[in-house]
Symmetry: C2
Subunit: 491 residues, 2 copies
């Protein structure tokens, strides 16, 4: 065997073991009995250790040095493996273990602090997490490297704080202005009135999943407290949540996760269990979930079809017609909580977090000053004062578990979705007529060919740019938001 073949055989086994970790994560959130948690933590910890040790196995270094990849696919495989290897060997094992230990405990402390709205109690824990992740970032970045970029690169290869800062700075004034105009318009979106049978919501969720092309032979739909997708290749599972009070959460959570799930399901089969066999970055992943959920799922065409489905399940829901249902699905309301935000507010939540976490990691902001900084920025952008920490700085699990550098990929995903949607509308003539009949096939087929099938073959930004034929830009997203919500709110 050549070094490349040896490298790929070894890596395929590593990917298979890594895939098992994904399955355990799914089980933990959907099926695992409550008392199994300590045993599961130990099992997961050992398997993670095995996978991590394989990624930095010295033989991988030797094979990488000797490998002579012959084509674009082989070159991309080697690039991905080298990237994982280089990152893995840079972080001392003791530091990695300490981060795993501290963040695991921090999650529990955070949950308690959030329940008690007690920022002071959590501050020492968060300081420790920040300190450890900064140490890791220093190890990854090397002398003179940017600490935040080193972490960001783990979620969005090639992205930099500098580029994101510029991108987000261009978005913020237009988003703030749009938000103010909508809320100043005096218009209010209708709301649906129930009851909304939860079993019917699950049936509608399944219908939405099928409408968007989710393959139930290679996945399944279950309930989870916080919806997520898990898996890759031939086994990509999704989850949703239901609430008796309103039905949009179940259906749009489903469509969002279908976007993630289909990206994984549609990667070219020849990449199965290789480093190319999964979505290329968090940002591109989010572009798929967002365009499925928002540009396609919340558009007038699909909501027209969905209105008919919902009327059959729930009666008239207190809305006069499909247009009122469309307005209800796109209600804009200021809220404290990111995960409940509409399309207009969502990115403002992210921009706030990006600026704060970048400064924390770079050492330009202390944890002691974090809450005040959060509250000031929130009031500036959202026009409302944060009433309590669980509605502010304590709301997300990301920082407690050390996910610094992750938040901006959400907005990057929205920006990418904006670019893709612009191109899709130009290239796919029948996308909207099909959606109006409950078939996202033309739109999702285009995304499959242009984005999803490539898996990790190209760099994240490259995926979007080859799909659209244009440089990535914030303009399409902002134009789309201003046009859609301008029309909805008569502004």
């Amino acid at each position: 065997m050549t070094a490349y073949a040896d490298l790929m055989a070894f890596t395929r086994e590593t990917e298979a073991l890594s895939s098992v970790l994904g399955r355990l994560g799914w089980d933990q959130e959907t099926m695992m009995p409550s008392g199994a948690a300590p045993q599961r933590a130990e099992e997961t910890g050992v398997l993670e250790k095995v996978v991590h040790a394989r990624r930095m196995d010295p033989r991988v270094g030797d094979w990488l040095a000797a490998a002579d990849p012959q084509d674009a696919v082989a070159k991309a495989q080697v690039r991905q493996i080298r990237r994982d290897f280089d990152r893995a060997i840079k972080v001392p094992g003791a530091l990695a273990a300490e981060i795993a230990r501290v963040t695991s405990l921090a999650q529990g402390h955070w949950a308690e602090a959030r329940a008690a709205d007690d920022v002071a109690a959590f501050a020492p824990v968060l300081s420790e997490v920040v300190k450890l992740r900064r140490e890791e970032a220093a190890a990854l970045a090397g002398p003179g490297g940017d600490l935040y970029d080193a972490l960001l690169d783990g979620y969005e290869p090639g992205a930099t704080a500098e580029a994101l800062t510029a991108m987000f700075a261009a978005m913020r004034p237009r988003l703030v202005a749009l938000r103010a105009a909508i809320l100043g318009s005096g218009q209010a979106a209708p709301t649906l009135s129930g009851p909304f049978d939860e079993a019917a919501q699950m049936r509608l969720s399944e219908a939405c999943a099928r409408a968007f092309g989710y393959d139930f032979d290679h996945g399944r739909l279950d309930r989870a407290v916080h919806p997520f997708s898990a898996g890759s290749g031939l086994d990509c599972r999704i989850t949703t949540r239901t609430s008796p009070d309103e039905p949009f959460g179940s259906m749009y959570s489903t469509i969002h996760e279908v976007g993630h799930g289909c990206y994984e399901q549609n990667v070219a089969p020849e990449y199965l269990l290789t480093p190319l066999g999964a979505g290329v970055s968090m940002g591109v992943h989010e572009s798929q979930s967002r365009i499925y959920e928002n540009q396609l799922g919340r558009g007038r065409a699909f909501t027209g079809w969905l209105h008919g489905q919902c009327r059959e399940a729930f009666g008239d829901m207190g809305v006069a017609d499909a247009e009122a249902f469309y307005r209800a699905a796109n209600a804009v309301q200021t809220g404290f909580i990111r995960t409940e935000a509409d399309e207009v507010h969502y990115n403002l939540h992210i921009l706030l977090r990006f600026d704060l976490e970048r400064d924390l990691i770079r050492g330009d902001l202390e944890v002691a000053d974090l809450e005040a900084a959060w509250n000031a920025r929130f009031e500036a952008d959202f026009g409302v004062a944060v009433d309590r920490a669980s509605n502010g700085v304590l709301q997300d699990v990301h920082w407690p578990v050390g996910l610094f550098g992750y938040f901006p990929t959400y907005t990057l995903g929205n920006v990418y979705a904006g670019c893709l949607f612009e191109a899709l509308r130009a290239e796919v003539p029948d996308w909207e007529a099909a959606l109006a009949a409950g078939d996202a096939g033309p739109a999702t087929g285009w995304l499959r060919e242009k984005v999803q099938r490539h898996g990790g073959l190209m760099a994240p930004r490259e995926v979007i740019e080859q799909a659209t034929g244009k440089p990535v830009s914030v303009e399409p997203l902002l134009d789309y938001l201003e046009a859609k919500f301008g029309a909805l709110y008569d502004i």
Copy 2:
């Protein structure tokens, strides 16, 4: 650290990885989407390889040589680890891989052959499986060792073909005579008439599981085509099946699997993720599932309670009273299929298989002569000629997948259950009154203390003998069967 501490730390990780394999197996039979099978096979194969490599890691040999265990528990841990290590290093890696490959394919060939009742088509495949397992047995047994014993030892440490042959020879005439007397009695058991709502069967199954002390905080109950239990320690899951035609299958499959599940759940917590932290052998495991299902679950006391539950769910089911329901739950009928056999017939199915597989592995019977030998023996013991191979030699998956030495543990489990039931009745005064009220607690509590909590601390036979204070004997089982069914059939 001492060698013992190093050995235990390493082994604990191996056990954790092995536990993940159990979880994947459960998922495969209950939740996995159909199209995921090829990917799952690869994932499972890699993880098995990792676990196997760890069991025979040279460091384990070094630690075993240097370990100086100080107490009974530590000595038992070392004994179990040495046993696994010695077995693992004896089998050449290429042979182990070939067995995995061939038996994996053989299962598919067997399913096709069984569907077509085509013994000839399957014979070459089975010959290959037998040949490979004989090679493995030779490697395990060493020069002059018994091939069958070497395989048997993998499922029931310490058992020998010689001892089992003598034990089973003592059982066969009394079982054959009891069977003949029952069928010659002219008495027929009543049968229940439906319909039997399958959701109600699942609710009753859950009630049965709770009645027998299954802990849903550390397990769950799902449906599966072939009921099984999976897991150990804090996460022991069970499955059952339902049929619209009759309800006993769901409830008694559940109680059977609860016996397996409770054995795992009740092992002393300090053995979690160690070699002592699971049931000690297939035979002792089966003793728990059988005594839960049969001696306790199908006894007059519990069926009295169950009759009330079923009447609430299904109406009168066409039986006059609790006594008729008890008779229906203990109907004796000759059938071809082992898994559908009643208490009287079951062991005759096993005795047949044991004699044939022992002779196959020892080279005293050729695969070419297997079907004829099966059919002759079946007619001799059951009084009926086998009508087709799927009702005969092709019915079980065990031989196709290479499980030679496994079948006798079923009857050994019944024998152990007979011994335990005799002791339980003598020592636990209120077991039957509690069962009549739907509470198996006094009986299962005794089993937990006497058997289950010990996990792998003692040798299988030793577990039973210290629990009962007597040598293992077939007499209690045979006495119990003759008394119970003699009364039921007026013989």
